[in-house]
């Protein structure tokens, strides 16, 4: 009992606020970019990032000890929040509309149209598949890194990459054509 009372805590001086503050400073921009690619608009992306950090703020003990583990944990929480949203909104039904957008959007610059097209196409994918495609195609991560980030097997990542690319090819169609 005496030994337990005088033992030094494993995280002497690690205030949860300090830890979460550091994690925010290190990772919030990366998470924001991921959220922009995973969501329908900026406002949703903003909420996703905030909700991710709020979730760990409520339970700081769930954050892994290592820095790489903590980053992967944040990504996983964000992707899971996307999945929750997806289930609630039944996004697939909402996105049966024309992926290339309305006539008024064609008046915008080409880059904006391209961005909206890609965003809508990605939104048609299930969140986990979307996350895998985004991390591989846009963030440049390999299958091993994606598997570690999402807590899934490498074979699962490869399968989703293959299936996701086929799905996007169908959704996007050949460049210049309207589906």
């Amino acid at each position: 009992m005496i030994e337990a009372a005088f033992s030094i805590p494993a995280e002497t001086g690690t205030d949860p606020q300090d830890r979460i503050g550091r994690l925010f400073d290190q990772h919030h921009q990366r998470l924001y970019r991921l959220a922009l690619r995973m969501s329908r608009n900026e406002e949703e992306a903003h909420d996703l990032v905030q909700d991710t950090f709020l979730r760990i703020a409520k339970k700081p003990s769930s954050i892994p000890e290592t820095e790489s583990g903590a980053e992967a944990w944040l990504v996983r929480v964000l992707v899971n929040l996307c999945r929750d949203q997806f289930r609630r909104r039944k996004v697939r039904d909402d996105h049966r509309a024309d992926v290339t957008g309305t006539g008024s959007e064609r008046d915008h610059e080409e880059a904006v149209i391209a961005s909206e097209t890609v965003r809508k196409a990605l939104a048609r994918l299930a969140p986990r598949r979307r996350a895998i495609i985004v991390m591989h195609e846009l963030e440049g991560l390999d299958a091993r890194e994606i598997a570690h980030a999402l807590g899934v097997a490498k074979v699962t990542v490869r399968w989703h990459l293959s299936a996701g690319r086929k799905e996007l090819a169908t959704i996007l169609g050949p460049k210049g054509d309207t589906p």
Binding site: P16, Y32, R33, F53, A114, V118, H136
Partner: protein, 124 residues
């Protein structure tokens, strides 16, 4: 990654996050909001000074019981541990004025339990 892959090319050309960052003001506001919600779930630890004081008091009380007025000790007796205590010779709760004998029990460092019965009327 195959740079010439048409799907990859289209995704990169239309990357919704290209050159995008969360603004400095908004980052600061979000950070403050998040840190305001942090729950400190660290376990409560004993404060060393308080526990040390309690332990010293306990040792002092035990020492007074063993070494205090009325207790007799042989010079050859083993040094009693803090577990030493004076107990009545029977199980009844009686005052010291009413009883003529007392028992002193303690445990030596080697683990031997010693019970002394102190009888002022004892004669060899």
């Amino acid at each position: 990654m195959n740079q010439e892959d048409p799907i990859t090319t289209r995704l990169r050309e239309g990357d919704p996050a290209r050159d995008r960052t969360l603004g400095e003001d908004e980052s600061r506001r979000m950070r403050a909001r998040i840190l305001g919600m942090v729950t400190d779930t660290r376990p409560v630890r004993w404060h060393r000074p308080a526990f040390a004081s309690a332990l010293l008091i306990l040792i002092a009380v035990a020492g007074w019981i063993v070494l205090g007025p009325g207790s007799e000790r042989s010079p050859d007796a083993a040094i009693p541990t803090p577990m030493a205590q004076a107990v009545p010779t029977d199980g009844d709760a009686v005052t010291q004025e009413e009883k003529t004998t007392r028992q002193v029990q303690y445990t030596t460092p080697g683990g031997t339990r010693v019970i002394w019965t102190l009888d002022p009327d004892f004669q060899l």
